[in-house]
């Protein structure tokens, strides 16, 4: 049975590479918001390690919508099922597949926007690429895809803990309101103490007020997430293209809504002179080598130097707002997009576990590449 019809390749794309991340600890996510479910396959996890599924579920619970009035009220249980790679709580060294069923599809809410391109969303570009609308969150550009990343990141985090590495991220700025904290002292408990996930209670209160105001206005706000990895030994990362900061930058920029990334001194560092910026080496009491300052953000020449690895990540204000906006539909006609459906006035709190997951995935991959797990 041979068909004569050729495959229509006007919208051909070679997407094979696009859904996987990592070299030796390699994940592949799958799934759309409105299909049966979504998930991830983790290939490269070493065998014979205890795996705590409750910890994975807890990470997913931090990411899912509906946790507080600050974020989207879309209801998803996000219950994870481990399909393979683990028996009796121990890893087998084989691929770990995890599935999260969709429960709250509600495609109907999106009918109104089925034809109009939402401003600063992926609707138009997705259509240009695939010839298919990403409507109703059906596409892969949906933030819901990050559930698979968080599940995989939780496994990476468990491996990193065995190597003495811990990661914490928090909301450092919302709409210009900045936290005033000592990055070296932040714990995840302190982060989760407020709905906004900012460990400075005073700033957190202001941020929450700002988000509430945006909600009332039918508007949205952006901000900055800060992340630090402690305990990374010297020697992780490669010196040329796969610099540790380069892989971290890619990881963070692949999170929806991210528009900027800094390691160490970032853009502010461009204002200093070399004599003020350089981090001087010294000998610690235990004989190891440290730097007196950490403008390098824990990485020099692409390779970790043993100091905390520090990142700042800029998230734009959410594109979905509850206001009419001028736009164009699929046929090229100018039109007005009327607001409808649910609204997340600030994605920053839910972005925190995603940032942590992507940081964990980059670090465990380079740990394996450096054969650090001996």
């Amino acid at each position: 049975m041979i068909s004569n019809s050729r495959i229509d390749m006007r919208h051909r794309t070679l997407a094979a590479m696009g859904s996987s991340f990592g070299v030796l600890f390699r994940i592949t996510t799958f799934g759309e918001s409105h299909g049966p479910g979504l998930g991830v396959v983790v290939d490269g996890c070493p065998p014979q390690l205890p795996l705590d599924v409750a910890h994975i579920q807890a990470a997913l619970d931090r990411r899912r919508p509906g946790q507080s009035r600050l974020v989207s009220q879309r209801k998803e249980d996000d219950k994870v099922e481990v399909l393979s790679g683990v028996i009796d709580g121990m890893t087998l060294g084989t691929p770990i597949a995890m599935l999260i069923r969709n429960t709250d599809a509600r495609g109907k809410d999106y009918d109104a926007i089925a034809r109009a391109y939402r401003p600063s969303h992926a609707d138009y570009t997705y259509d240009a690429k695939y010839g298919i609308r990403a409507v109703a969150g059906g596409g892969r550009a949906s933030a819901r895809e990050t559930a698979g990343r968080v599940a995989a990141g939780a496994i990476a985090e468990q491996l990193l803990a065995r190597l003495g590495v811990s990661i914490v991220a928090w909301v450092d700025e919302v709409s210009g309101i900045a936290a005033n904290v000592d990055p070296d002292a932040i714990t995840r408990d302190a982060v989760d103490a407020t709905d906004i996930r900012c460990p400075d209670p005073a700033a957190a209160a202001q941020m929450i007020e700002r988000v509430e105001r945006a909600r009332k206005d039918g508007d949205s706000v952006g901000g900055v997430v800060r992340a630090v990895a402690r305990g990374v030994p010297p020697g992780w990362g490669d010196p040329v293209f796969d610099k540790l900061e380069a892989d971290l930058a890619k990881a963070m920029m692949s999170i929806p809504a991210v528009k900027g990334i800094e390691n160490g001194s970032g853009f502010a560092g461009t204002l200093l002179t070399g004599s003020d910026h350089n981090d001087h080496f010294y000998r610690r009491d235990d004989g190891s080598i440290g730097t007196r300052t950490n403008r390098s953000g824990g990485i020099q020449g692409g390779i970790s130097n043993g100091e905390p690895i520090t990142l700042r990540i800029a998230f734009k204000p959410t594109a979905t707002i509850m206001r009419p906006q001028p736009t164009v539909d699929r046929d090229g006609n100018e039109t007005v997009l009327e607001p409808k459906g649910r609204h997340d006035p600030c994605v920053l709190p839910r972005a925190v576990p995603i940032v942590e997951a992507m940081m964990a995935l980059v670090l465990i991959d380079h740990a394996l590449r450096q054969a650090a797990l001996r």
Copy 2:
């Protein structure tokens, strides 16, 4: 003849992935500053295209040291030889290998620093990883490695030109002195009109003065390079991990001395509300779809939208300065590093062609992935 001695793997690293970049247009750089030479192999260049070797040489000339008194006086001819993949000026579709011989090795200049770790250099981290000093520029962390990238980027640029895509980068800030220019109007000629490669003559004069002062002080300065790609059609980039901005972020962060990267509105965009930040679609006179503003920086949901792609890249002040600095040597003894050798008080002008090359390499790779070359 079987040896009993096992391989010493204390410093084992799995570097195989680290020297290649790109998926379908894939480059592999090789070479150290003090060996016979360095170069690059480009795999994935389509066949039957005219290749202009003079254009490649011109790109290398823009990168090499010794062009003006603003940059390092190290003398390298950087003459490129095309070893394969091209016959009678036409590509064969086979790997294009290019070799640049080293001529000005001068290993002796570096004797003094052979044991002390230079602050904010890759000496210590390289040693921690490989058990080998990156001294004398011998390591791959040397900026000289970027010559191979620039040669490959020049090929990418020639392919992109056939697709109607052009790239231009310039020095936008030095030590806080900012250019005041219209990004849409910048040409490469305007950029090259000043030694500092800033197209705003007034700002350029101030920048040059600032760099001269740093030189006299034995110090160094940092800054920001801005880059724009014009003519990229809608549809390039992937929606998940290999977002166009993610691959661009990795590309830029892999350039020595880069500490931050922004696409579109970047960190400043976090101060806006969604209603102010969203880019509204409209219909152009020719029927195509555009956006009235470009805070998205030409990319939405990981995929190009047809608007100019805009980047800002932060370069820290050069780590090499002509001042004594406290540090530690390989044996862990605290010591003072005395200045010696050559000194590049500001890498920004030479960074411009490197930024352009990395941007071209990302774009041509995604062009091929989107099968855009039909």
Copy 3:
């Protein structure tokens, strides 16, 4: 919180690459026989193509045990669920995940062999690599893993049909009993007409008798599967490492129990002189170019030439037999393995759809690499 317990890496392996196959049409299989289920993620399938799930299920039905008395009576429904990548019967261009739940685990049958290494199985080598027994089919070396390949291969086959390419494989030899058929005339219906999947009825009868005798003897037999792909246009395959025959050889050798592979004239061709072996080109009536003979097996210099692509694949006799065998247990003690559990005296009939699937996966990958889908 730094853990003191390092990860035990005596059995460390970097398995990340091991569960994926293909470059642009890339599959990743997951799952063990005795966990919740197994499956596959297909990344790189083009968007907007109709996908026939019934055809995938039919392919799985041809592979599963219990189809006839000739093969293992293990009962597995092997019902496939498509989790993602398809909506309303059309592909989205996103990863297609497929899940097959395990229903007939029966771990208890394997208790007896939990400690003794089964001869010519993967028990010992798996233990040496991972420090974990692949007992009870729990490991990835189990033939059950191939269900994921067959599901993915069925998708590849549907794409290939649109390009005019069809694949058929059959049992050509069992224990030296050879079919006498015209390879150009074989249909899948003729193959499936006998339980042994040999399209020569006379030879099939002899083969079935031979397999029955082996079953009664508690023994097993091997044989040769032949495969042909018709309609592949000239130009698929790469000229150096990724020659079409090289990727086919890897694909076939990755099927459990395969010990040899031939393309075209194979080993018999080494007996000919060049003047007898060379395939002479001629002009077909339609103006296209063909060869008068096909000792090249449809591939010259790694690239398809438009003639049928022909393969022969050698399967060793099944390692599981119903006889006591001397062996060694995990502690190094010599022992005797007593037979127990189920027994598949000849895997050849069930190997046919696996061979077809692997051939389809290689061909569609090279079709995409050649941009043949325009």
Copy 4:
């Protein structure tokens, strides 16, 4: 300067993947017979290892033409220059680039065949794929490309020697004349004792006579190369797609003129029953586990078992013969190809070092993947 002319992609191919081999020990070959030179970049070689360039040169000398009257008289010095990755005879852990200049281009010899497709060569398929003739050995399908593989393989071999692994290959059959040797006793000296590289002197004499006769007839002959790797520990190789025998099969099938490959019992093993074929485990005097027979060829379930790894590789008779042959030219006209140029009546002796190199490349890659180099 934006060109309006689109890139002609009728012959578009995504060749990026095609010139590289290996995952962690990854080589990329480049170069054509008639350009400036050819070579290889080895990425992933561990640092701090002594590298013997004379050993690399010796391997190349075994491969090059003109060694004896049995093989092509084309004169190539094949002098290797190491461009990077090695200083003072020690590896740096950075890419090792090696260059071999072309000296004996002689393009003119090939003028006569510039238009006619040579039977069973890659001329037609190369043209179909790239739209470019592989004439004059200019294409990558030329056997000359294997020089880069041999140079890289010599490095792999030096690493393997440190792990106690040695490889030897020899000519086992020429045109049906078979060697009668004990595979466990063959040394490379015994192989090189005859021009035909067969360690059985009596068979070697017959083989040489057969090759001489083919030369006089203007004809060519094929044969079988056998290869064995000794000292590989249990645990190398992956259990699913990247089985050790699968990667070896791909490696061998990627050598020009190979049409078949066997591991262990190969096709002959299909004639045995399981009870005769199974390799029984026993405990060696030193407590390690071995098998009493080696029909598995040193690999079970994709993973090495500690026994010698055995391969047989079928080489077709050389396609170039000194006889007129009917064929078709580029315009589709039927014509006769008149013999011209040089003639290699039997490639087997020169194939021996290529087989060894490819085997070494697969083994060192899996050694690194198994972290065996600790």
